[in-house]
């Protein structure tokens, strides 16, 4: 029996309900904790999508580090439970309208098929095998089988994406200095 699909839908409902509660709670602490819940559900989905390393990083970095930073700032600022934190109803109507249009456009993504994209970008007569047009996909399954979950991600990260990886460290250094300077008592 295929257990992956029902488990995926459980995680999907969990993620959407948590996200809804995150944007509707008036208490910022409650919002932050519901966002952590969404991130845990997404980590579960990453495991189902064969990205175990990303799932671990999601829990450690996102739910662990970034959200703790958010909670610390909420605590520092002592932002209380305020009914005025939600905008008035004209904003809700406008927001629902804009978000609805955007969501309708994005939901078309759900019909995405690698076969269709392969047919569109390939010069060969269709129907063509997507694995021929996108050889990386088949190669990635091989790489996971060969080097393991972490090794398969590390290999492109430290070879093809080495320069962006190094630039990322510069970005983090800039962020550290910027955060310290901005949060100082006297600007």
């Amino acid at each position: 029996m295929d257990l992956v699909t029902p488990v995926f839908w459980i995680f999907a409902v969990w993620a959407v309900v948590s996200a809804l509660l995150c944007i509707t709670r008036s208490n910022p602490i409650a919002s932050a904790l519901w966002l952590v819940s969404t991130m845990f559900a997404l980590a579960g989905i990453y495991v189902l999508l064969h990205a175990q390393f990303i799932a671990a990083v999601q829990v450690i970095v996102y739910a662990g580090a970034i959200m703790v930073l958010f909670l610390f700032v909420i605590m520092l600022l002592n932002v209380g439970d305020d009914q005025r934190q939600l905008r008035r109803w004209p904003y809700w109507v406008l927001g629902l309208g804009i978000a609805g249009v955007l969501g309708a456009q994005l939901l078309v993504l759900g019909q995405y098929q690698p076969q269709r994209l392969a047919d569109e970008v390939s010069t060969q007569p269709s129907p063509v095998d997507p694995a021929l047009v996108f050889p990386d996909g088949a190669a990635s399954a091989l790489a996971v089988a060969e080097r393991g979950v972490v090794g398969a991600v590390a290999e492109p990260l430290f070879q093809a994406y080495l320069i962006p990886f190094e630039i990322t460290s510069l970005l983090l250094l800039t962020a550290i200095i910027g955060a310290v300077v901005l949060a100082k008592k006297k600007l």
Binding site: V4, F8, V61, L69, R87, G110, Q111
Partner: protein, 98 residues
């Protein structure tokens, strides 16, 4: 594989993030909604990495790094704003209003 459902879920989560940014007044909560949008994009990267190669998963690591940097700098800015205006309610920051 679950490619289509994962992309649809990603679309729903991104839309909820946009809705959150539009309807909340609290700057910190708006920031959290931006994190929600980044998470939705990460989900579509991971879903497509199954078909188009592990570059997608590498990109997720970059997105997480940028999100961490953005959160650190953004929250420092919010702290500075709070010190200046004693509020993080964006409806009350009317300095640029004519």
């Amino acid at each position: 594989m679950l490619l289509g459902p994962a992309l649809a879920l990603s679309a729903v989560l991104f839309t909820l993030g946009v809705l959150g940014v539009l309807v909340r007044r609290n700057a910190i909560v708006m920031f959290m909604c931006i994190e929600l949008m980044l998470n939705a994009v990460n989900l579509s990267f991971v879903a497509l990495a199954q078909v188009h190669g592990l570059g997608g998963q590498v990109m997720v690591i970059f997105v997480m790094t940028v999100a961490a940097a953005e959160a650190a700098v953004g929250l420092a800015i919010i702290l500075a704003i709070f010190r200046h205006a004693q509020t993080v309610d964006l409806g009350q920051l009317t300095l640029l209003k004519g």
